[in-house]
Every structure is written in structure tokens, then in C-alpha cells.
């Protein structure tokens, strides 16, 4: 079953990913093909099987809340696409 154009656009919107018309069409083909290959899992009996999120048995790793130096402001801002004095410059969030 091929994904609809609307489904692809819905996923793209969730992921905040702009797509050209051509990319939408390609995603419909390729994602559908990949998802078909996932069907195999539906035949596996996983009743009473707990999920594994990661392979280490560690849980709730805690540490003391100690204060330490943070990065110098200018060093962090140096990587910003746009900066304004001591701030990141972005497009208006509120109209």
C-alpha cells in the first residue's frame, strides 16, 4: 500500500521538513517500499515480551548537582547563523 500525498506531507510537517513536489513523490515510493519490509515483524509473537530501550542494565543514573563554569558566551555565539550583541537573532515568533 502506497502512502498518500497527504500522509507524506503530514509526516514532513511533524518533522518540520520542507519537501519539494518531487521529494514528496519519491518519499511516497521509497517509504512505502521500506515500510513493506517492516511487515515481517507483525508475524512475531511478542505477547509478554517487555520492550528493550537500550542494552545496558543501568537505570536512573544520578549525580550531585554541582555548579560549574559554562561556555563563554562569545564562543557559543560564534557558531550562530545570525547574532545580535549577546543574543541569537531569529525571525519574529509572534506577529
Amino acid at each position: 500500500m502506497k502512502l498518500s500525498r497527504e500522509e507524506v506531507l503530514h509526516i514532513a510537517r511533524l518533522a518540520r521538513l520542507g519537501l519539494s513536489d518531487e521529494e514528496v513523490e519519491r518519499a511516497r515510493e521509497q517509504l512505502s517500499h521500506i515500510l513493506e519490509n517492516f511487515e515481517i515483524l507483525q508475524s512475531v509473537d511478542t505477547d509478554d515480551v517487555p520492550p528493550t530501550a537500550q542494552s545496558l542494565a543501568l537505570q536512573n543514573v544520578l549525580r550531585e548537582d554541582e555548579s560549574c563554569d559554562s561556555f563563554p558566551r562569545q564562543e557559543i555565539l560564534a557558531n550562530a547563523p545570525q547574532q545580535d550583541e549577546d543574543s541569537f537573532r531569529v525571525r519574529a515568533v509572534l506577529e
Binding site: H10, I11, L17, E23, F38, P51, T52
Partner: protein
């Protein structure tokens, strides 16, 4: 000149440095010369850090002169461009991070620096480590030094190709589903993916956080052990790093494997496997038997055929969350000329990411989205449990499991680029190991028409010593790892 460094291992170079027969400056100059000579053909390196390397080499020579050196001091090294290096741009081979200069070092880089590293550059890779051929680099594909028309594997293809071509004595890579082992196999070098948690991931740009692990690509197993001694261990900055002590990994290289039990899981020797790979594997396994190991052929890991689907649900799901941070605000690429904030974000991600990265973000977002979470993500996590349990059961009877690293020899550049599922299948032997969080090594075991074949040795959690011991014993008895491509 370049001739000696092209062949030298870490331990050989270290010996020469200690005997004052060569200086780190000379070694480094030779590597940089070799890079100049072969890079136009191989394209393994995104950023050559020649000035930094020479400065570090001079400092290493001072350390050596003062008698304060370690096994890695002064040895020319290449770091995969997914690990943060303070002051040196770290691109992940993506347009998104083309100009990103990290304000800090990854823990592994910090550790290597304190061991006297000479970093000659940052290695090319599939964008954000997503790929199996290094063709998904946003900058240029890397070529396999054994046949320049073929891929070096991926995603640590630059690291593997550079070590094979003598551009660095060793390299660091990262492995999420085979990204160290598969290129190590394709380029005929030695590559180790440690147990999940063995090496700190702090400063490793995240792809799939429950699967990613850093490891060495080297010319032999002894070098692999030396690099592990320097990079392994707990790190309070990575809460998934394991709080266990680290052994001296060279101590296990005894050449004594009598009575060790090797299991061969039959599911790894099925359809789609190239006959030459199967033959080379059988010869290599017979060699291990001859060296004193006992081999059991009746091992079964029945969930193996499900691993590909499990991986391609879990890894993209984690990636879709991890890559949400690239929004063009604090660092990285920003699309100029969009009207609104949302439009800027959409277009930044549209133009900053390549096709494979976008494909995986879409796939992961889909698998995590309302209505599909249980059917895909949760289901995959449950099958992940089954895959782990089967490995646990096999390791009750065997010390290690042995499989091919990849079902084929390196394929042609372009051959699988338009068929994602075919590309994904080249990692079919390596993905299950990340799913279970196990350590595994790939070592060279032969050639098919001058194209490399790798063998994978899989160990129990934190049993890196066992797989290093077996791999080392094999290399003591064979010459495959000593062959180098003609360039």
C-alpha cells in the same frame, strides 16, 4: 619519505620513536605527504589539519625526549568527522554543519590528546553516519583504495580507507549498525565496535543514542588493543557509559585459544551471500580450529531475519528525535530568504539535510507518530528483546560467535544509491550486534579478485578481551592483515 609510514603499525612506530630512529615530526610529515599523494584518488578526508598536526608532533617529540610518552604519543591519527574537536570544524559530512566549530572536545578526543595524539585530519563519512558506502557524504564520496571504482563501505568509510591507504596510522570511527566493521571489512583493516557503554559518547554527534558506539580502525589487533586502552572507560558526562573498570587490553593477546568455544550462527550463512565470502569464511574458521578452538556449527539465532526491520525502525526513530536540534537557530546552516520563522525552519532542514538523512527522519517520525507507535516502534523494541535473549542463550554455550562482516565484497560506487533497501542489506550481518549492544571486531580474512573480505567475531557484553585474543591469534598465524593496496 612516505614509504615507511605507509606500512607502520602503532606498535612498530612506537618502537621506532622510543629507539629515536624516527621522530613524530618525521612520521607526521610522511603521513601528510602521503595524504597529498593519494587524497586526489581516495578522498577520505574532509579537513586536513596539517598545521595542528605538526604542532602536536613537535610537542610529542618533546614528551618522548623527556621520557614521558605513552603508546599512542606522536602517532598520526584521523578522527571521523562526527566527533567534536575543539577549534577544528566538525561537519558530520553535512551541509548543515559545514561551518560548525565545536567549543569543546569529545571525551575520546580529550583522552587521545592527553595520550599525545597527532591529529592529521577529520575523516569523511555518510552524512550524520547514515549510510553504508560513504556516498551519502554531502561533500564527496570516498573511494575504496583496493579498487577506486568501488565504495569503501560506511559510514566510517573515510576512516577505513585512510588507514588502508596509509594516510594515518590509525583512525577512530563510530558504529551504529556496522559503521566501523563493514568499512573495515571492505578496506581490509581491523575495526572494533566495543560494547555499548564501554567508550564515552560525550561529544559524539548523536545519530541513534541507544546504538551508537565509538571504536578504533587499525592495521592489526595489537593496535586495536592499544587504542582501546586509551579511549575506554566510564565518563560522568555520558550517563550511558558503563561504570566498570577497564582492563589492559594488550594483556589478553597471548596467542592461546586452545579449548575456546566458537559458535557459527547458521542464519548468517544464507541467501544473497557471495560464494567467495562463504569460502573465505570456511577457510578462516578451519584456521581457528587448527589453532585450538572448538567450532560448533549448530548455533541458531532465529530472530536474525527480523533484525533489519528492528534496526530500521529504532535507529531512524532515535535519529528523528536527535536531529530535531538542527533548526538553524543556534548553530549550523540557516536558509536565508524565507518569510516566517516556521518557513525558515522548514527550508533550513530541506536544504541543509541530504536525501538519506531526510528519508530516515521521515521514517522515524512516521514510526513514532500517533497511531503507528505501537505497531512499529514498540513492536521493534519487543523484538529487540527477543534478539538479545537469543544471543544470551548462544553465549551460554559459546565464548564467541563468528560470522562474515558483510555478505559481499565492496560494491561499485552508484550501484545501490537509488535502492535504499539494497543498501541497508549490506549491514545485515552487523546490525543485530548493535541491537543487542555486544562487542564485535572485523578482521581481514582474504580476497575475492583482489577485493577484501572481512570476518566478524562477536563477544559477550564487555568481553572485548575474548574477541581481541581470538582475532590476534588468527593474525599471528596469517598474513591477510599485512596486505596493502597499491596506489
Amino acid at each position: 619519505m612516505a614509504t615507511y609510514n605507509n606500512q607502520l603499525t602503532i606498535h612498530e612506530a612506537h618502537k621506532l620513536l622510543m629507539e629515536k630512529k624516527v621522530s613524530s615530526v618525521e612520521l607526521t610529515e610522511a603521513c601528510l605527504e602521503r595524504i597529498k599523494q593519494v587524497e586526489p584518488h581516495v578522498s577520505a578526508i574532509v579537513t586536513v589539519t596539517d598545521e595542528l598536526a605538526m604542532e602536536q608532533a613537535r610537542r610529542a617529540d618533546e614528551l618522548i625526549a623527556s621520557g614521558d610518552s605513552r603508546p599512542l604519543t606522536g602517532i598520526p591519527t584521523l578522527i571521523k568527522d562526527v566527533m567534536c574537536t575543539r577549534g577544528v570544524r566538525t561537519t558530520c559530512s553535512s551541509k548543515m554543519l559545514e561551518n560548525f566549530v565545536p567549543p569543546y572536545d569529545a571525551t575520546v578526543v580529550e583522552k587521545l590528546n592527553s595520550a599525545g595524539m597527532v591529529m592529521v585530519g577529520k575523516a569523511n563519512m555518510d552524512e550524520f553516519a547514515m549510510g553504508s558506502s560513504t556516498e551519502h557524504s554531502a561533500f564527496f564520496p570516498t573511494h575504496n583504495p583496493w579498487d577506486l571504482s568501488r565504495v569503501p563501505g560506511g559510514s566510517s568509510g573515510g576512516s577505513a580507507a585512510a588507514v588502508a591507504a596509509g594516510e594515518a596510522v590509525y583512525a577512530l570511527g563510530s558504529d551504529t549498525g556496522g559503521s566501523i566493521r563493514q568499512p573495515a571489512g571492505f578496506c581490509s583493516v581491523t575495526g572494533l565496535k566495543p560494547t555499548y557503554g564501554r567508550v564515552s559518547r560525550y561529544g559524539l554527534v548523536a545519530f541513534a543514542s541507544s546504538l551508537d558506539q565509538i571504536g578504533p580502525l587499525t592495521q592489526d589487533v595489537t593496535d586495536c588493543a592499544l587504542v582501546m586502552n586509551a579511549i575506554a572507560g566510564h565518563d560522568s558526562r555520558d550517563s550511558t557509559s558503563a561504570p566498570y573498570s577497564v582492563p589492559d587490553y594488550t594483556q589478553c593477546l597471548t596467542g592461546e585459544i586452545k579449548g575456546m568455544k566458537i559458535g557459527i550462527p547458521k542464519e548468517y550463512f544464507v541467501e544473497g551471500m557471495q560464494p567467495e565470502v562463504e569460502t573465505a569464511m570456511k577457510v578462516a574458521i578451519a584456521k581457528l580450529e587448527e589453532l585450538g578452538a572448538s567450532v560448533g556449527w549448530e548455533v541458531s539465532l532465529p530472530s536474525t531475519p527480523h533484525a533489519l526491520a528492528v534496526y530500521y525502525i529504532i535507529a531512524p526513530s532515535e535519529a528523528s528525535a536527535n536531529l530535531a536540534r538542527y533548526d538553524g537557530t543556534k548553530y549550523g546552516f540557516r536558509y536565508q530568504g524565507a518569510e516566517t520563522m516556521w518557513d525558515t525552519m522548514d527550508k533550513t532542514r530541506q536544504h541543509g539535510f541530504g536525501a538519506e538523512v531526510k528519508r530516515r527522519i521521515m521514517l522515524g517520525t512516521y514510526a513514532l507518530s500517533a497511531g503507528y507507535y505501537d505497531a512499529y516502534y514498540l513492536k521493534a523494541q519487543k523484538v529487540r528483546t527477543l534478539i538479545r535473549r537469543e544471543f544470551d542463550a548462544a553465549f551460554e554455550k559459546y565464548d564467541v560467535l563468528v560470522t562474515p562482516t558483510s555478505p559481499t565484497v565492496p560494491f561499485k560506487i552508484g550501484e545501490k544509491l537509488d535502492d535504499p533497501v539494497q543498501m541497508y542489506l549490506s549491514d545485515v550481518c552487523t546490525l543485530p550486534i548493535n541491537i543487542a549492544g555486544l562487542p564485535a571486531i572485523s578482521i581481514p580474512v582474504g580476497f575475492a579478485d583482489d577485493l577484501p573480505i572481512g570476518m566478524q567475531i562477536i563477544g559477550k557484553p564487555f568481553a572485548e578481551e575474548t574477541i581481541l585474543k581470538i582475532a590476534h591469534t588468527y593474525q599471528e598465524a596469517t598474513e591477510w592483515h599485512k596486505r596493502r593496496p597499491e596506489l
